[in-house]
């Protein structure tokens, strides 16, 4: 059985480099890829009644935008390159959700960009990459 790598995209340049690296690794070891996009979300935020009323609608829009605009084009391209590629979009805490996806899909490696977050947040409370490294069930490849 071939290996499976999970890539986390978030629209940042670093995550694009992570995807390129994942592509290279996958070709080397003939692995399959899952390209994922986590929409930052918490169940404990405060919102307005209007936002709540439209939440279901917005969620659908967010999911389809992420998959149509970001993930599907990459999936097409990677399949064209001969790589077996799946996609996943989720709402949630970025690090925890990535790890959850890795567990669900039994991934062999998580590949993420080093600096998706704003630099200040990374300095003070640590970035997503650091958090993933702490709780990941598998090796993590962090691409600068």
């Amino acid at each position: 059985m071939s290996e499976l790598y999970l890539v986390g995209l978030d629209g940042s340049d670093a995550s694009q480099r992570a995807l390129a690296e994942a592509e290279r690794q996958a070709k080397l070891s003939n692995a399959a890829l899952i390209v994922s996009y986590v929409i930052p979300w918490s169940p404990f935020t405060f919102s307005t009644p209007e936002e709540n009323a439209n939440r279901h609608q917005r969620r659908e829009e967010e999911l389809s935008r992420a998959s149509e605009c970001v993930l599907k084009p990459e999936q097409q391209r990677l399949i064209g390159e001969g790589l077996e590629t799946g996609i996943e979009v989720r709402h949630g805490h970025p690090a925890r959700t990535l790890v959850q996806l890795a567990k669900e899909n039994d991934a062999d490696m998580i590949i993420i960009g080093a600096t998706g977050d704003r630099p200040l947040k990374t300095r003070i409370i640590g970035g997503t990459a650091a958090a993933v490294i702490h709780i990941a069930p598998c090796p993590v490849l962090v691409v600068p």
């Binding site: 929409i39 169940p43 405060f46 919102s47 009644p49 009323a53 439209n54 279901h56 709402h91």
Partner: protein
């Protein structure tokens, strides 16, 4: 010292105000006489408005009918808020916590902070005990409303969720037969009319009027450059409200919705600090509250008089039985309507029981209410806090303005839902309502509103008549739902997702 002239509704003022007052006074007096019809309490000079009796009777009935759901539902409600039952596949949908937080930011405000002070200054320390009891009973009313709100919610053409009393009254009663369908429709329309009135009045003009008073107070009282420029303040306030409700600038709404809980947190912590500093006085403060509640040394004559005052302020504070919160709770993502009802138990618990206990203790401990200053409302609360934490009145002033702003945003939404219920779900209808809402903000800030404020308060309370009348017919439905749900809880068949 900052003055908080919150409840000084003056009747003098410009000729325009007088003309408006004179014009609408007969109408408002009639409405007030019916809705706030004062029932005399035997053996005392105090009166109990009819609507308060209506609210309390319902709350007591619901408490017994659902076998003290306000106690036995708390544990499950807490687990729901904590997210034990949040399905990760539904991540991104409205959670129980979010629905509760949204509803709370609509109710926390002047009613809670000023309400206790008014109760104490009119009814003595004992009123706090009765207010807390009323809050406790009100939890049952909230449970019923919010369960029904979720059960009978509907989906608009644009895919947004619409729920609340107008929907459960019309749809719920229609389920129970053609005769009741007509009553349901009638109650729903009446509720929508009162809710629109309330959203222009107590939740709009009153709020903008009071925040203007606060603003003038902080910027130098009568000498403030703003003192006679209420219209300007109103325009600025209307501009900020318009940014959110017309401009759809969600970031402002989001910032507000974050600041309000922070402010509430600061308020509660400051209260706890003051109580902790004077911890040795707490037992005597409690015994004073209890003896005064029993009428041993009360102000307004007899235990019943104190009870009347406490219950009335609690009705304004928690809005339990009014139906407004059900609109906010309806957007939650769940297949179990009862689950949101159990979560809603925490709303009166926080905004009336906890806030009352803390505010009340601070006022009693500080002795601020004894000093015969004729103060009431926020002014008294502010002085009580200020006697221990000198700078706190400034924080309170900012908090009051922000609470008013968030109350306006929440009610703009409630009113718009009711407007859409009456006139149809279209862009033109929504825009009409929003423009009206903005105009009332400016009017509210620029005038000394006498009759108008009484009228708008009455409108909010009047929502309880169609709301509770319809709910009585829906009680068996809620009971069936509750029994089914509680069986699942007992059997442990509800899916738990918490790791």
């Amino acid at each position: 010292m900052i003055r908080f002239p919150v409840f000084d509704v003056q009747t003098e003022g410009g000729s325009v105000d007088q003309a408006i007052d004179a014009l609408i006074a007969p109408v408002t007096n009639l409405v007030q006489q019916v809705i706030l019809f004062p029932l005399p309490i035997p053996g005392s000079e105090a009166n109990l408005p009819f609507v308060v009796v209506w609210l309390v009777v319902a709350a007591v009935l619901f408490t017994f009918y659902f076998r003290f759901i306000n106690l036995r539902g708390l544990a499950q409600g807490f687990r729901l808020v904590r997210g034990d039952f949040n399905d990760p596949r539904a991540a991104g949908e409205v959670t129980h916590f979010q629905a509760l937080a949204t509803a709370l930011s609509g109710t926390v405000g002047l009613g809670n902070i000023a309400g206790v002070a008014i109760a104490v200054s009119v009814g003595g320390p004992g009123a706090i005990i009765w207010m807390m009891l009323a809050g406790f009973l009100g939890m049952s009313s909230k449970f019923v409303e919010c369960t029904l709100g979720v059960k009978y919610r509907s989906i608009n053409r644009d895919g947004s969720v619409a729920g609340g009393p107008m929907w459960y009254l019309s749809r719920g009663l229609a389920d129970r037969g053609p005769g009741l369908a007509r009553l349901g429709k009638f109650c729903a329309v009446l509720f929508a009319i009162f809710c629109i009135g309330g959203s222009f009045g107590g939740a709009n003009m009153f709020q903008s009027n009071q925040s203007f008073q606060q603003f003038v107070g902080v910027t130098g009282g009568a000498d403030s450059w703003f003192a006679d420029k209420g219209w300007l303040f109103g325009l600025i306030l209307a501009f900020f409200v318009a940014l959110v409700i017309i401009g759809g600038i969600r970031s402002i709404a989001r910032v507000t919705s974050k600041i309000v809980p922070v402010m509430a947190g600061i308020y509660i912590s400051a209260g706890l600090v003051i109580i902790a500093v004077h911890i040795e006085q707490v037992p005597s403060a409690f015994s004073l509250m209890l003896s005064s509640a029993m009428g041993i040394s009360s102000v307004a004559g007899g235990a019943l008089g104190v009870l009347a005052i406490g219950f009335q302020r609690a009705a304004f504070s928690s809005e339990a039985g009014i139906g407004s919160a059900a609109i906010a709770h309806s957007a939650v993502r769940t297949d179990e309507p009862v689950s949101e009802g159990l979560v809603a138990l925490y709303e009166p618990f926080v905004d009336t029981i906890v806030v009352c206990a803390i505010t009340g203790l601070v006022i009693v401990i500080s002795g601020a209410y004894v000093a015969d200053s004729g103060m009431g409302g926020v002014e008294l609360t502010s002085q009580a806090f200020g006697s221990v934490i000198g700078w706190f009145p400034y924080v309170l002033a900012i908090a009051v303005i922000l609470f008013a702003y968030s109350t306006m945003l929440a009610w703009a939404y409630y009113g718009q839902q009711c407007f859409a219920f009456l006139f149809g779900d279209s862009r033109a209808v929504a825009a009409t309502y929003k423009v009206l809402f903005l105009i009332f903000i400016v009017i509210g800030a620029s005038m000394q509103l006498g009759a108008v404020i009484g009228f708008s308060d009455a409108m909010i309370l009047a929502m309880a008549f169609p709301n509770l009348l319809g709910i009585y017919f829906l009680l068996p439905t809620v009971r069936r739902e509750l029994d089914k749900y509680m069986e699942k809880v007992k059997a442990g068949t509800l899916p738990i997702f918490r790791q």
